[in-house]
């Protein structure tokens, strides 16, 4: 690895930026197909109702309308599947109700798809949708976990008594109970993890087309994982063979988890295009995005921590209720289980951990992955509890963490994970230093002199990224493998195309992956392009989520490059009349060891495609594919520190400093990595201070637009202090771990711990997210009696 100006470790400017900066990005809504019609999805305005009937005649008669389809028209088409089977404590499988793409007989949330109206123009389709007469016969709705589990609650599905999907557990309950019996101290906490709306700035969109000449369907869609959509849509919903279904996810304007799921609209559009023989385009309006993009989080938890007299953690018991919404979205079921419960060792040596999770159906938008997906929920609970333990035991917040850190690796946690490597003291020390933790009391006094309350908060955390290996996740209920593919095609004159099954929607893969390939092959950075997002171009791959793209997808590319080099050595040996074992490859040259006889990659590539003088028995061409199935998760870790200043008169919280000290493994492009950290921090700060998705009791979404749902804006955030201490992942060749979710996992508890620290002198010892000025003001007033 040369480490040169564009190689691994360099802050190379991004390849993708020129098109985005000049308005030449190609997002789904930018695409128009000849003869296209426009579809408008009519959505349920009520949370729970029987459909007495649907009269589409007036809509059909409206100007420009070509078709109106309802659930009855699509009856017989497969339902929208879910990707992970969870088993309950008693061994029974989760309740997995049917999810018809268009509601059949019943609607179950505000936003449920009821009909598609197809017309010549967008406006005609939208106006005609107003003429569809749906006879909704209202049923009582359950819009929260509390409502769903209440005695006599309305049932979202008849087959799910008590609205329970599953009642899952992980860890050794008996050992954990025993730890509490021997504890000197027990500290308890109740927390709510607030429901969030992902809000990628690009709304979802899709265009479906059917070509009768080839019997091929093409679906352009805003997806983080086009092959996964093809598999679910083709094999499970429409019954189309893969070779007749092409999925293109072109430039995608942010995902954050909300563009992982296979959505009903994708099935409706594709099916409709087939029925009409015309392309059909649909673009979600923001108001509909709020009530149809999957939401995130929404947990209610209670937990207790057992400690010995010195503050050493002995046991942790967590009981969580999770809201899954009205239907099971693609990865809904694994987020509050296998991406949550197994995180509860955190960076600590707690010997006994037990977590139980009961998940509920409610009449709300389906819940799925959102940046961090399960890990922010676990980290928030654990780091709030550790802070509370320090307070109740009269211990220093830093020292109680340090006292319990894992320091010997590999470390087997009591909840399934085995950490391969880390240095939690190093990131803690770095964060304390970078945040001037030691100087805080002087800053607190300075704030106090101005009548303000200053607080500082910390969280130390691990995450688990690049979920793997396939055999293990399969044994836990995953219905997919979690490997990744990479192909490297060296062209005859030496430029390179790289094909990845991951998908870039802001992460800069076109740059980072090109850096890796350019560095390894010694090819000019500008001569390497990365292709992603089109199932007709790329090998089967699982897409981008869970901070997996570099650790899993980057490794697949690395392995494909190794194969290219290995084949190149054979060709070079032939050209140089040497034995393969003597050929060394460095900086783009194959050299006979110990000599100055060499040939370039370009010459080898040309020879591979013009094999006049060529090794006997070797296939022509220089293109290799690798599929990489990881041996383990990767474990990024770090310490985040937040410093706030609270105005006791208004309750307003000003975030004055944010410090991240992170170990994300080897950094390929520091500029991009910093950007990922910034974005994650903003997302986590949004959760901690601003964002909250609120449903009324009747299931109406109270926060259904940017006027009601608070998004972090530039003036709400400070600059971020980003710091790295690197330990290398031991089980992938690049030593990389993942970075996309770090901020949203680590920072929320640090912010809330800081708010509590600020308010503690007033007698406030608890604070819920988001810590809005109203909530803080109320807490201050209540504490003052």
């Amino acid at each position: 690895m040369s480490g040169n100006g564009t190689g691994i470790g360099a802050s190379v400017k991004r390849k993708e930026d020129t098109r985005f900066l000049t308005g030449r990005g190609r997002y789904t809504d930018d695409i128009n197909l000849p003869g296209q019609l426009y579809g408008h999805i009519l959505r349920s305005p009520v949370a729970h109702a029987d459909i007495g009937g649907i009269d589409t005649s007036a809509a059909m008669a409206a100007p420009g309308v070509h078709a109106v389809f309802t659930g009855k028209d699509m009856e017989g088409v497969g339902g929208i599947p879910t990707g992970w089977l969870i088993h309950s404590k008693d061994g029974s499988p989760m309740v997995e109700p049917a999810h018809p793409a268009l509601a059949l007989g019943k609607v179950r949330y505000v936003g449920d798809c009821v009909a598609i109206v197809v017309a010549e123009t967008r406006e005609q389709a939208k106006e005609a949708a107003n003429l569809v007469d749906v006879d909704y016969r209202d049923l009582p709705a359950v819009a929260s976990i509390e409502a769903a589990e209440a005695n006599g609650a309305a049932q979202v599905f008849d087959e799910a008594p008590g609205n329970v999907c599953y009642d899952w557990e992980v860890g050794d309950r008996a050992a954990t109970d025993a730890a509490f019996e021997n504890a000197a101290h027990v500290v308890s906490i109740d927390v709510v993890n607030n429901r969030l709306v992902p809000n990628a700035i690009e709304p979802r969109a899709a265009i479906a087309n059917f070509d009768p000449a080839t019997s091929e369907y093409t679906l352009y869609t805003t997806s983080q994982n086009p092959h996964l959509v093809r598999l679910l849509l083709g094999a499970f919903v429409l019954g189309l063979p893969e070779h007749k279904l092409r999925i293109v996810a072109p430039d995608v304007g942010g995902g954050f988890g909300s563009k992982i799921p296979h959505y009903a609209e994708e099935a409706i559009l594709t099916w409709t295009a087939g029925r009409l023989g015309r392309p059909v385009k649909w673009t979600c309006e923001r108001i509909d995005a709020f009530k149809s993009d999957t939401h995130g989080r929404d947990h209610i938890s209670t937990a207790k921590l057992a400690l010995d007299a010195d503050g050493k953690f002995l046991g942790l018991h967590v009981t969580t209720k999770a809201n899954l919404g009205a239907y099971l979205s693609t990865f809904a079921t694994c987020v509050p289980t296998y991406l949550y419960g197994i995180l509860f060792a955190g960076p600590y040596t707690t010997p006994a951990v037990y977590c139980e999770v009961k998940s509920f159906f409610t009449n709300t938008v389906p819940v799925d992955a959102l940046r961090g997906a399960g890990r922010p929920e676990a980290t928030y609970l654990l780091e709030r509890l550790v802070d509370k333990a320090a307070h109740e035991l009269g211990m220093d917040r830093v020292e109680i963490r340090r006292k319990n850190f894992v320091r010997e690796f590999p470390y087997q946690t009591p909840v399934a994970l085995q950490y391969d490597q880390g240095d939690y003291d190093a990131t803690l020390d770095l964060a304390l230093d970078a945040s001037d933790w030691a100087g805080f009391e002087a800053r607190r006094a300075e704030s106090a002199a101005r009548g303000k309350l200053r607080g500082i908060g910390i969280s130390t955390f691990i995450e688990a990224c690049g979920i793997a290996p396939s055999a293990v996740v399969g044994s836990l209920g995953a219905r997919a493998g979690l490997y990744e593919s990479g192909s490297v095609r060296v062209h005859p004159t030496g430029s390179v195309s790289v094909f990845t099954g991951t998908h870039s929607h802001g992460q800069g893969h076109e740059t980072t992956f090109a850096q890796i390939v350019s560095d390894m092959l010694g090819v000019d950075f500008d001569a390497v392009d990365v292709v992603h997002g089109d199932s007709a171009k790329i090998p089967f791959g699982m897409g981008t989520y869970g901070s997996r793209s570099l650790a899993v997808g980057g490794t697949a590319i690395y392995l494909a490059v190794e194969k290219v080099i290995e084949k190149g050595r054979k060709i070079a040996a032939h050209l140089l009349e040497a034995s393969v074992e003597d050929i060394e490859f460095e900086n783009g040259s194959f050299t006979v060891a110990g000599t100055d006889r060499s040939t370039s990659l370009g010459e080898v590539a040309l020879t591979a495609y013009v094999p006049h003088n060529y090794p006997e028995g070797l296939e022509p061409g220089l293109e290799e594919t690798a599929f990489y199935d990881p041996l383990n998760f990767t474990f990024p870790a770090g310490t985040h520190v937040a410093e706030v200043e609270v105005d006791p008169e208004t309750g307003e919280v000003e975030l004055v400093a944010v410090t991240g000290a992170d170990d994300v493994g080897r950094v390929i492009n520091p500029m991009i990595v910093a950007g990922q950290l910034h974005g994650g921090l903003a997302h986590g700060i949004g959760q901690a201070l601003m964002e909250e998705c609120v449903y009324q009791d009747d299931g109406q979404l109270a926060t259904g637009s940017y006027l009601d749902y608070t998004m972090p804006r530039a003036a709400d955030l400070p600059n971020f202090s980003i710091n790295h201490n690197t330990t290398l992942c031991t089980h992938n060749p690049l030593g990389v771990k993942g970075v996309g979710e770090v901020g949203s996992i680590g920072i929320p508890p640090a912010v809330i711990n800081a708010v509590i620290d600020a308010l503690r002198p007033l007698g406030v010892n608890d604070m819920a997210m988001p810590a809005t000025s109203q909530r803080v003001w109320q807490a201050i007033r209540q504490a003052q009696g």
């Binding site: 930026d17 690009e202 998004m711 003036a715």
Partner: protein
């Protein structure tokens, strides 16, 4: 249906629109200028910002007929051929974009700020961007880019 004529990126463009057609719809659908994006329906996100007579405007909040006769600049009209505008270059240099969806609006808004204030402070930039949402960057690098871009513009575009 009314016909509108306006100068868009230096060229006179005409089209037939409905009275309710938004400027952003005219730009995207009539003229095929898809660099201007639509991220919301409440004039909150700012992905659709263009310049109308030199001032930044949310083109989702302006009817096409209101821009009749106006001089409109979109993100496609900012660069000088292959040479990026200093504000575009600053966004590239400082990694002020990730997914790119909010970027056209951010850049157009930033150019207007720089035209008014050639050396905005961090605070001034953050306040100015009140009408532009980004979900990717946490704004940190956008703020850096806008300040650098304003300085590079040297007091005007």
């Amino acid at each position: 249906m009314p016909t509108v004529t306006m100068t868009v990126n230096g060229m006179e463009r005409s089209g037939t629109v409905e009275g309710r057609t938004l400027l952003v719809e005219f730009l995207r659908e009539n003229l095929g200028l898809t660099g201007t994006h639509v991220g919301c329906d409440t004039s909150q996100c700012g992905a659709c910002v263009v310049h109308v007579n030199g001032t930044s405007v949310k083109s989702c909040t302006c009817l096409a007929v209101q821009a009749d006769g106006a001089d409109v600049t979109t993100i496609e009209g900012l660069a000088n051929g292959a040479e990026l505008h200093p504000m575009q270059e600053a966004f590239r240099e400082h990694h002020g974009l990730q997914c790119g969806f909010c970027t056209p609006g951010m850049v157009m808004s930033a150019v207007d700020l720089a035209n008014r204030n050639p050396d905005p402070s961090e605070h001034e930039v953050r306040e100015w961007l009140e009408g532009n949402l980004c979900r990717c960057t946490g704004y940190h690098n956008i703020v850096k880019a806008v300040r650098a871009g304003a300085q590079a513009m040297g007091g005007g575009s």
